[in-house]
């Protein structure tokens, strides 16, 4: 019993919340355009499963592409910053600053620069996912046990070998935790990108149904977004297990 508490407890609170929500909506007769009942949301989700799936694929493609680009870029730049203090000092403060820029301002610029295709949405995802990865990886690279590095140096390892054999594997845990944060956010980034300009995708669909006052469909969309976000998070967790079997 006690071992399953980890799964049972959240399930209980989830269902309790949903129950109270449903009850409130019914008792106080809350209008659909203010807050749809959970049952309504599930209904909308099932009824529009095909549409949601279709739009999901578009959003997922943007999100995953963006996440991958962000990951590669973050890894390269983090290694670059680790290699050169000058490079780090030159760009790190600016990276922090970019995080405070409201995406709503950047969105239109991305569209102006990149047009209306997938690119601006992917760039939005990259913009939102890059930072957590680069900061986690860069910090971890700087904190790798200097003795391990010295050992490799004393063995005559070249600079790239120090990275390949010690620095990168040692910092991989941090890299993956940054990646997990980003995986959770990347769908959100794609959605924001789609709000600005799109012809398909969950964000596009969400605005459409919102304009039609179909809040049940909006929430169905939200559920789908949550689902994909958690799934991507899970995928990264699994990837970590596969890449680093020694952790098990």
């Amino acid at each position: 019993m006690k071992r399953y508490r980890k799964y049972i407890m959240p399930a209980i609170t989830l269902f309790a919340t949903l129950g109270i929500w449903e009850a409130c909506v019914r008792i106080f007769d809350v209008d659909l355009y203010i807050l749809p009942a959970p049952s309504k949301i599930v209904e909308a989700m099932l009824a529009n499963a095909d549409v949601l799936w279709m739009h999901s694929m578009v959003t997922l493609q943007e999100a995953v592409t963006g996440l991958m680009i962000a990951t590669v870029a973050a890894i390269l730049i983090a290694i670059g910053m680790d290699l050169s203090k000058n490079f780090k000092h030159s760009i790190f403060p600016h990276l922090v600053v970019t995080q405070t820029v409201p995406v709503m301002v950047l969105g239109p610029l991305f569209t102006i620069w990149l047009g209306f295709g997938m690119a601006p949405k992917v760039l939005m995802v990259v913009f939102m996912c890059f930072f957590p990865i680069v900061i986690a990886f860069c910090d971890a690279l700087a904190q790798v046990d200097v003795n391990q590095i010295n050992l490799l140096k004393s063995f005559g390892a070249k600079k790239w070998q120090v990275y390949a054999y010690v620095k990168i594997p040692a910092a991989a845990t941090a890299l993956f935790s940054g990646l997990k944060v980003s995986a959770t956010y990347c769908i959100g980034g794609a959605i924001v990108g789609e709000w600005l300009s799109a012809s398909a995708g969950l964000g596009y669909y969400m605005i459409r149904v919102k304009n039609g006052y179909m809040l049940d469909k909006v929430f169905a969309c939200v559920i789908v977004i949550i689902f994909w976000s958690l799934l991507l998070h899970l995928a990264v967790t699994l990837l970590e297990r596969i890449v680093f079997p020694y952790k098990r």
Binding site: D31, L32, Y33, I34, G107, P108, L109, T111, I112, G115, F116, L196, S197, A198, S199, Y204, I207, R208, K210, N211, G212, Y213, M214, D216
Partner: protein, 309 residues
């Protein structure tokens, strides 16, 4: 002193939720505010300016605001939604649809027929797509040959670069563009299809107000009407009032916009704000035809002229 405070206390507070950030479409409200017309009617009006252009109907329906600025299309959506939003239009701000398609003159886009092979940037509402489909169909053009994308909010700057056609309000973006030296073709929507000469924007209130507080609605509309009538008669003065509200906006542009709109607010109507069944029915039919709504609805369920007569 205290007498003044008492007088203030007696004012009834109401909230007006705009459709979007202030622009010259809203002149009447700000004139009424500035000239004290609301106060004369015993009202104190809080004007809410959302940055999101699709919340006013919900907020008014949810009684968070007594009045709102919305669009005919949104009212129709609201009234045909699965759970009907209890709102009604009580006045149109402008008698005709003052929006249309703009393109750079050099692109030589003169009719929807020329849309083929071009790129259109808009806000990607389903109704927008339907409208474009309709006008192109009417001109025997192939809708599939038009690329539809989302606008980036940069206005005319994008025209001729990645975008060929945009849909803009004549009284705001088109005037602004012309003043900025863009040589453009403007194709008013109302000239392309009579059904598309719908009301935009409209003033809405909720059914609760209509039932329980018609006097307040009347008082509000009296002041607003007076405000718009003032704007019709005094474009330059109203532009000055709007300049106070929009201190960052170029005054010459506001004046131009105001001059244009002063002729449009009441055009072809006997009094400001009144609406016609025909306009409502036309566009409702259009929306039904293009499957934007799944049932028809009578005009009388969507609007009333009771307060602007």
């Amino acid at each position: 002193g205290s007498a003044k405070d008492n007088a203030k206390k007696e004012l009834k507070e109401v909230t007006l939720v705009l459709d979007y950030v202030p622009n010259t479409n809203h002149t009447g409200f700000y004139v009424a505010q500035e000239k004290g017309y609301f106060k004369e009617e015993g009202l104190k009006v809080n004007i809410i300016e959302p940055g999101d252009d699709s919340t006013s109907a919900v907020l008014v329906a949810a009684n968070k605001g007594e009045f709102g600025v919305s669009y005919q299309e949104d009212v129709t959506y609201a009234r045909t939604a699965e759970e009907v939003l209890p709102i009604k239009a009580i006045a149109t701000i402008i008698q005709h649809n003052t929006s249309g398609f703009v393109s750079l003159k050099k692109e030589n886009i003169k009719s929807p027929k020329d849309f083929e092979g071009k790129v259109y940037a808009g806000w990607q509402a389903p109704s927008e797509e339907a409208v474009i489909k309709a006008v192109m169909k009417k001109a025997n053009a192939d809708f599939k040959k038009l690329t539809m994308v989302g606008a980036d909010g940069s206005g005319f700057a994008a025209l001729g670069k990645k975008v060929d056609i945009q849909w803009e309000f004549e009284g705001w973006a088109v005037i602004k563009g012309r003043m900025d030296g863009y040589d453009v073709n403007y194709m008013p929507l109302k000239d392309l299809d009579k059904r598309l000469d719908y009301y935009t924007p409209v003033i809405i209130t909720n059914e609760k107000m209509l039932k329980e507080n018609p006097e307040t609605v009347q008082k509000f509309m009296n002041a607003v009407k007076k405000g718009y009538e003032y704007a019709i008669d005094h474009p330059e003065e109203s532009a000055k009032i709007m300049k106070k509200i929009l201190p960052d906006t170029d005054f010459a542009f506001l004046k131009e916009s105001q001059k244009y709109l002063s002729a449009e607010y009441r055009k072809d109507a006997k009094t400001w704000g009144v609406m016609k069944d025909e306009v409502w029915d036309n566009y409702t039919d259009f929306m039904y035809e293009y499957k934007l709504i799944d049932k028809k609805i009578k005009a009388s369920e969507q609007y009333t002229n009771e307060f602007v007569k």
